[in-house]
C-alpha cells in the first residue's frame, strides 16, 4: 500500500484533526463523534443541515461544511456508515429552533444509523427530518436491493438545501426542495482501478490492465459490468447515454453537468471527459449552463470518474448559484 497514513485506525480522526487545524475560525471538531461542524452552529432561526456517511469520499462531506452548505458532518470509518450514536449526538448538538435536516445517501447502513439516531433525537423533542439521496443509475433492479445508491449527485442536494436554509426556508420547504433536486439528478461512474482502504492495505478488487468497471460504486463495489478499456470519448458516451435516458433529459433542457473525479484521476483528464459530455449534450439539444469539474465525492484513491446531470429550472438554478464557503477551496 502506497499511502500517506500512520496507524490505519487513526486515518479518519487524523484527517479530521487536520481539517480542524486548517480551519480554526470556521470549523469546530468534536473528536468523540467524528463531528465537524460550523463554528457558529447551530445557527438560530435556521434549519441545521447534517450529512454523515462513511469516510473515504472526501471532500464529501467533512470538507463541505460551511456557510451555505452543511452545518455539520459526522462521518463513520472508511466506507462504514457512522454509528447511530454519532448521528444522535450530532443531531442534539445541531438542534436549532427550526429543526435538523439529515441528508442520507441511500445505503443500508446509513439508513439504519440515521433512522435510529432520528428516533432517539425525536424522543428528546428535537424536530428531525430525513432526506434520502439516490442518484446512481448504475443500480438497475431496485426490487432486489435497497434501491439506488446515493453518489456524487448528493452535492447538488446539499448545495440547494444549504442555500435555501440560509435564506430561511423551514424544514418542510427544505424537504420539498431537496426531493425536487434529487428527483432531477442522475449519476453514473466508471472505475479504472480499484481503491485501497487503509485498513485493508490492498486493492478492494482486481482489475486487469485493460479492464474497467462500468457503473462502479463509490465504495469500490463492483458495478454494472466489467469491460475492456476504450478511449475517453467512448467511455463518456456510455455514461452519458445511461444518465440521459434515465430521467430522461431531453432537447431543450438546461442542465448542470458534473464530472467528478474518484480520487486518483487528475483534473486534466476530467476536462477531457467534460469536453465530450458537453459536446454530446449539445448534439442532443441539451444545454449545459452550469459546470462542475473537480473532485466532489471520491472513492479513496480510485482512478475513475462519474458523470452527473441535474435538470435546472429557475428555482434550482438560483440555489446552485448562491454563495457558499467550504474547507475545500483554492484560496
Amino acid at each position: 500500500m502506497k499511502k500517506f497514513v500512520n496507524d490505519p485506525k487513526q486515518f479518519v480522526p487524523e484527517m479530521l484533526e487536520g481539517i480542524a487545524l486548517a480551519n480554526p475560525d470556521t470549523l469546530t471538531y468534536v473528536p468523540e463523534y467524528n463531528l465537524i461542524m460550523r463554528a457558529d452552529a447551530p445557527v438560530e432561526d435556521k434549519v441545521s443541515i447534517v450529512q454523515g456517511s462513511g469516510s473515504g469520499h472526501e471532500p464529501a462531506h467533512v470538507m463541505i461544511v460551511g456557510k451555505g452548505m452543511l452545518d455539520a458532518a459526522c462521518p463513520g470509518d472508511v466506507f462504514a456508515a457512522p454509528p447511530m450514536d454519532y448521528v444522535y449526538e450530532t443531531t442534539k448538538k445541531l438542534a436549532s429552533s427550526k429543526g435538523v435536516l439529515l441528508l442520507v445517501n441511500n445505503y443500508t447502513g446509513d439508513r439504519m444509523a440515521f433512522d435510529m439516531g432520528k428516533e432517539m433525537a425525536e424522543a428528546e423533542g428535537i424536530r428531525v427530518e430525513i432526506l434520502t439521496i439516490n442518484d446512481d443509475v448504475a443500480v438497475k433492479d431496485s426490487t432486489y436491493t435497497i434501491g439506488r445508491r446515493g453518489v456524487a449527485g448528493n452535492f447538488f442536494v446539499i448545495k440547494a438545501v444549504g442555500a435555501a436554509a440560509e435564506q430561511g426556508a423551514d424544514l418542510d420547504e427544505l424537504l420539498r426542495l431537496g426531493r425536487k433536486v434529487n428527483d432531477v439528478t442522475r449519476t453514473m461512474g466508471v472505475g479504472l482501478t480499484a481503491c485501497t482502504p487503509p485498513a485493508k492495505g490492498s486493492p478492494l478488487f482486481d482489475l486487469g490492465e485493460d479492464e474497467i468497471e462500468m457503473g462502479v460504486g463509490i465504495h469500490g463495489e463492483p458495478g454494472r459490468e466489467r469491460t475492456k478499456i476504450t478511449n475517453a470519448d467512448a467511455i463518456v458516451d456510455v455514461l452519458l447515454d445511461a444518465v440521459v435516458t434515465d430521467l430522461p433529459y431531453s432537447s431543450g433542457d438546461n442542465v448542470a453537468l458534473m464530472i467528478n473525479g474518484l480520487g486518483g484521476t487528475p483534473i486534466s483528464e476530467l476536462y477531457i471527459l467534460y469536453r465530450r459530455a458537453h459536446q454530446q449534450l449539445a448534439e442532443r439539444g441539451i444545454t449545459v449552463t452550469r459546470s462542475y469539474v473537480n473532485e466532489y465525492c471520491t472513492s479513496l484513491d480510485m482512478a475513475g470518474a462519474s458523470l452527473t446531470l441535474v435538470k435546472l429550472d429557475d428555482e434550482i438554478d438560483a440555489l446552485l448559484g448562491a454563495p457558499a464557503e467550504v474547507a475545500v477551496r483554492v484560496f
Partner: protein
C-alpha cells in the same frame, strides 16, 4: 455468579476475541462483492467490548447482553453496527434475569436476535446475509435439544450446520446489503456475515470443549 452468567460471558468473550482475530479474513470476504470493511467494523466494535469488559454491568444475563449490544451499536458503523447491536439487545431482552440457560432458552434468545435483525435490516432468509447461517443454525440447535445431546454435542452440530449453510450462500444472489448491487455477480462467493457466524460458532464449540462450564 450464576452459571448462566458464566456461560454467556464465555460465549460473548469468545465472539469478541474471534472477531478481533479474524479482522483480515472477514474483511477479505466482504471485499469480494462488498466494500471490505466488515472485518474492520466488527474488530473495532468488539475491541471496545473487550476494553470495557471488567466494567460491564453484570446485574443479570439480560443486562449484560444489552450493555454489550449498546457498545456495539454505538461503536460499530456500517450495516453491522445496527444489525449486530440489535441482535445482542434482543437476545438480552429475551434472556432477562435467568440464572440458568437451558437449550430452549438459547433457542428463544437466538430467535429474538433473528427477528431483530430481520426487522432492522428489512431482510429475510434467502437474501444472502448472516441470516442464512444464523437461522439454520438455530433450527439445528432446536432439533438437537429435543434429543438427549449435551451442550457440547449441540454446539458441535450447530457449528457443522452453520459452516455448511455459510458455504451454501455461495450459490445465492444477494438481495440485501452492498453485495446486492452486483446482482448475478454476487454468486460464486460466500456472504461475509454468514461465514462470520460459522467461524464464531465453531470457535465457541472449541472453547466450550476446553473451558466449558455446565
Amino acid at each position: 455468579m450464576s452459571s448462566a452468567q458464566q456461560q454467556v460471558e464465555l460465549v460473548v468473550r469468545t465472539i469478541a476475541e474471534t472477531a478481533v482475530e479474524n479482522e483480515k479474513y472477514f474483511g477479505d470476504l466482504d471485499a469480494v462483492v462488498g466494500d471490505g470493511d466488515f472485518g474492520y467494523s466488527l474488530a473495532r466494535g468488539f475491541e471496545k467490548v473487550l476494553e470495557g469488559w471488567d466494567d460491564l454491568d453484570r446485574t443479570d444475563v439480560g443486562t449484560f447482553l444489552k450493555r454489550t449490544g449498546m457498545i456495539i451499536t454505538s461503536r460499530i458503523g456500517g450495516t453491522s453496527g445496527p444489525i449486530w447491536g440489535t441482535a445482542f439487545l434482543r437476545a438480552g431482552m429475551s434472556a432477562g434475569t435467568t440464572q440458568e440457560l437451558s437449550a430452549d432458552q438459547v433457542v428463544q434468545m437466538l430467535r429474538a436476535a433473528t427477528e431483530g435483525i430481520k426487522a432492522r435490516g428489512q431482510s429475510d432468509v434467502g437474501d444472502k446475509t448472516l441470516l442464512d447461517a444464523l437461522v439454520p443454525m438455530t433450527d439445528r440447535i432446536e432439533q438437537e435439544a429435543k434429543s438427549d445431546a449435551d451442550a457440547e454435542q449441540i454446539l458441535a452440530a450447530a457449528a457443522e450446520t452453520a459452516r455448511r449453510a455459510a458455504e451454501e450462500t455461495s450459490d445465492m444472489v444477494a438481495k440485501r446489503g452492498r453485495a446486492s448491487y452486483t446482482g448475478e455477480r454476487s454468486k460464486g462467493s460466500v456472504d461475509a456475515g454468514a461465514m462470520a457466524v460459522a467461524v464464531l460458532t465453531e470457535r465457541i464449540h472449541e472453547v466450550w470443549k476446553t473451558e466449558g462450564v455446565s
